[in-house]
Symmetry: D2
Subunit: 141 residues, 4 copies
């Protein structure tokens, strides 16, 4: 539903494995970095959400690895908010490998919104407004 935010990442040496590609778990770190960029593009940070007592742990993750991502490659993680329910949201991700020119990866994650007692909340209006924002000059960075 929402607009796409794009996060540029250079692949670290330590993110490869002996097969010569990025190890499959590292994509989840890149998805997380993209979620942080998605928030900042909308004028807030995930850190601020936690400071206000909102936590958004991952309850489901899915990744389809189609192509190669190698050391020192520049990748772009395109992220958008795909779905919002009463107390959960889903992000979708596409990774484009700028170095190889290929779209290499697709995935999604479900996050549940929790309060300080670590129980699922109905997403409150104020938070819903933030999540529905369009990216803007409002970026904090």
């Amino acid at each position: 539903m929402g607009s796409i935010t794009s996060e540029r990442i250079r692949v670290r040496y330590g993110e490869t494995d002996q097969m010569g590609h990025a190890y499959y778990a590292n994509y989840l770190y890149w998805f997380e970095q993209a979620r942080g960029a998605w928030c900042r593009a909308r004028g807030f940070t995930y850190k601020q959400l936690e400071e206000r007592g909102f936590f958004m742990p991952i309850v489901e993750a899915h990744v389809r690895y189609r192509g190669e991502v190698r050391y020192d490659d520049i990748i772009f993680v395109d992220i958008h908010l795909a779905e919002m329910r009463r107390s959960a949201i889903r992000f979708e991700y596409v990774i484009r490998n700028e170095t190889s020119g290929a779209t290499t990866t697709e995935g999604y994650t479900w996050q549940v919104v929790m309060g300080t007692e670590r129980k699922a909340l109905s997403i409150p209006d104020g938070l819903r407004e933030l999540l529905n924002r369009e990216p803007a000059c409002a970026a904090t960075e």
Copy 2:
């Protein structure tokens, strides 16, 4: 389809994040460790497969995080071979948290079998025999 192999893992401090639980990417490391144990329980190692020219990169991963996994918890990753196709296999995983008593996580991964030229292969008979083995006293360790 196949029998279950169970791998015991103690959660490392560095596997937690500031929310106080294991970070979501680390489950994919534990799944990998369980795949290694699954092979050893059947009398071979994934390392040997690579030495013989077989590579099994992950092409899809899915994880459902239901419960908490914390520092120093003992978890068991129950893994079984759920599906075998012409050139790909699928493992299913269930994580039981011995410390909390809860079943916390479910997931699966698809692996493609590749040769030294890094192209998908029809799984050869010799390899198919290894993958269809029952766990036995034959364990290498």
Copy 3:
């Protein structure tokens, strides 16, 4: 000064990099796992220390990488308490690679003892007693 505790670890695929060895940062995870084992061998856990309000963040780490550690290798991390000061302790580590037969790595870490306000503490007598214990049948596990 203290007795050695030995922690056995099998190297994960995701701990290697494209050079074919374990990536240099992962040794610090193994040192941490060995510190946890060192505590358990003495009848307590690091987790319990944190629950009682003691935190022991690392303030210095040193590693000398002499030999190769590869995927699926079995390594032993030999750890002992080498030094105790007013509010800090130093562990020394030696990694023996059982698979290759070589002693591959040496290192040390300094930890500062902090209280819940995250300030350095004089190590209290009760904690000093725990740290000076000999490993025993008293292990919690």
Copy 4:
């Protein structure tokens, strides 16, 4: 001896641990990222070195953790080449936390130059010239 190159990094959520700071092993990933930036600032990449048959595994690492690095902090890793011997070089690192304003970390790493047979080499003149370069407009990126 050489000029400083500065690499800007935003700390990932997955790089924190339950103490609320960046886990101590992650600094070695950041040092590595800074080494990559150091090369690029001088008109080549570490990837190219490996493609030409030069490998520079770490043989020693030292880190002094003085201050806090937290999730979402912006840090700068200042790296310079501190020493060059017959077949090894040493980089020094200082991490400045832009978010907190503090200099939080100091460290160094020794790298040995190896050839394709994975034996230490006298650093050849061509490589020595690259390593002695000043950063310039010549950056590849």
